[in-house]
């Protein structure tokens, strides 16, 4: 148990010390919020959908958690590169605990990042419609963080070098973001496209966030949460299997 704790603490220590990374990772959500929120705002309003900043904020928060947790999870690659991974591989600690400690650490970092973006959104004019359900947003952020930290760790266990990182970003992470409904409503989409979006786990995260923050729902919060819990459990299992197979 203490090994899980110290690995979790390690992720936090590393995060707190990388101020440049914190600042940089806030830039992207801010860009989406400002450029899309205010740029597309008038069009969105004319279509009778209300405020776009209001609509896109839960999406931008989810995106932050997605990027941050995948990135932290894949921190495994940096550990491989800078050698620290070996120290954990020869330690008398079951691999599952190591994987869990890292994943929980990555998830915690992602949630902190998400909360920072919540503050940015509030400053930009975002207002949750229902103050009573708003804290439930934290629960959805945690679920999103768990799903994608586990995914990041799983990918990090398989990739051998940094070249694969760009590949994953371009062909997995970006599509997951764009297909999640973070930027557009899921109603009245073309049939095929709608099916694709429903296969993206982030879709349920974004929908859950919107349900609790805006009171607008596509699938319903219960289904959203259930899907995320199942996907997180599966990815944790797959991830720890892959992680336990690493040979140095």
């Amino acid at each position: 148990m203490s090994a899980i704790y110290i690995l979790w603490l390690r992720e936090l220590r590393r995060y707190v010390r990388s101020r440049a990374q914190i600042a940089a990772s806030l830039g992207q959500p801010l860009m989406y919020l400002v450029a899309l929120g205010f740029g597309l705002g008038p069009v969105f309003q004319k279509a009778g959908q209300g405020s776009y900043v209001q609509f896109v904020a839960p999406g931008v928060i989810s995106m932050t958690v997605l990027f941050s947790s995948i990135f932290s999870g894949m921190g495994l690659l940096f550990d491989r590169q800078f050698g620290f991974l070996k120290e954990t591989l020869v330690a008398p600690v079951p691999r599952f605990q190591i994987m869990l400690g890292r994943t929980l650490g990555a998830a915690t970092v992602a949630i902190i990042q998400g909360l920072l973006v919540v503050v940015v959104c509030l400053i930009a004019g975002f207002r949750p419609v229902n103050a009573a359900t708003a804290p439930a947003a934290l629960l959805f952020m945690m679920l999103i963080a768990c799903v994608f930290s586990a995914l990041g760790t799983a990918i990090g266990s398989v990739l051998q070098n940094m070249q694969g990182f760009q590949l994953i970003m371009n062909f997995l992470v970006m599509p997951m973001f764009f297909l999640s409904g973070a930027l557009y409503p899921l109603n009245n989409l073309p049939k095929l496209f709608s099916i694709v979006t429903s296969l993206d786990p982030l879709t349920y995260g974004v929908d859950g966030m919107r349900t609790v923050l805006l009171g607008v729902s596509h699938f319903g919060a219960a289904l959203d949460a259930a899907v995320l819990v199942v996907v997180a459990a599966v990815l944790l299992l797959v991830g720890s299997r892959l992680f336990s197979k690493i040979e140095a």
Partner: protein
């Protein structure tokens, strides 16, 4: 302390380690010498549970690293060929992490951390992040860390690679005194013959995955009729330069080196 019999490791059709057998007694300093790609690191990886052997038997302090990996891991400390510290953490935090991994009780951990950091002259810098340390300081910290859980065996895989003569000298002095005071069994690999001659009681020379000679430094010189260990080594392994294919891990190391130099 270490018992290896007919150990084999194949990667596909390539045999990296080919039926090697040797014994290392408790409290002994044993050097494993060989040209690049001879199978030194592969052997260490098998002994330290990082790689599963293809066949043969292995024993670490009476334990089979394959079936009792967790127990075996508690018995040894290892200093890898390339760094394995977390540069973003301080020296002290790296020690803390290691101590917790190896279930060292908190009080003992703090005592030993101070004792070892003082011994390796790092105590004043314990709060500094490892990324600002010099190569010699990092190596010393790695060794201090490897000793934190009072292992019975210390594996040193080319511990002095890239260090200046002063640091090398200091490092071997420490290793020798640890061997004498704490009775740690040391298994080391190196390219520097003078080092092996200075510290090791017995030497095994490995080439193309096979052990070609195994003796005391003096015995090796006698049997090859040479003046120095270097000449004995060349007599045993020939003077052709070995090409070692870079695997992805090596490429990563190269990349990591480029990165760390830039900063």
């Amino acid at each position: 302390m270490i018992k290896v019999e007919k150990l084999v490791k194949r990667f596909g059709t390539f045999t990296a380690v080919d039926e090697i057998s040797f014994d290392v007694g408790a409290g002994e300093i044993f050097a494993f010498l060989g040209p690049n790609g001879a199978g030194k690191t592969t052997t260490i990886k098998m002994l330290t549970t990082l790689l599963a052997p293809t066949s043969g038997t292995l024993e670490i302090d009476g334990l089979d690293p394959r079936t009792s990996a967790m127990e075996a891991r508690k018995r040894f400390g290892i200093v890898f060929q390339d760094p394995s510290l977390d540069g973003e953490l301080s020296a002290e935090e790296n020690m803390e992490l290691h101590g917790i991994f190896y279930h060292v009780p908190r009080k003992l951990r703090l005592e030993r951390t101070e004792q070892l950091l003082r011994l390796f002259e790092l105590w004043e810098r314990r709060k500094d992040r490892v990324k600002v340390f010099s190569g010699g300081m990092r190596r010393r910290l790695e060794i201090a860390r490897g000793l934190l859980h009072t292992p019975k065996i210390l594996f040193l895989d080319e511990p002095t690679l890239g260090l200046d003569p002063q640091t090398r000298n200091q490092l071997w002095t420490h290793v020798k005194s640890l061997n004498e005071t704490e009775g740690v069994t040391v298994f080391l690999t190196t390219h520097y013959m003078d080092e092996a001659e200075r510290v090791a009681q017995r030497i095994a020379v490995i080439d193309h995955g096979k052990i070609v000679a195994q003796d005391t430094p003096a015995g090796l010189k006698r049997s090859t009729n040479t003046e120095s260990l270097e000449a004995a080594f060349l007599a045993l392994t020939g003077s052709t330069i070995r090409e070692e294919a870079a695997n992805s891990a090596d490429q990563m190391r190269q990349f990591a080196k480029m990165w760390s130099n830039k900063r």
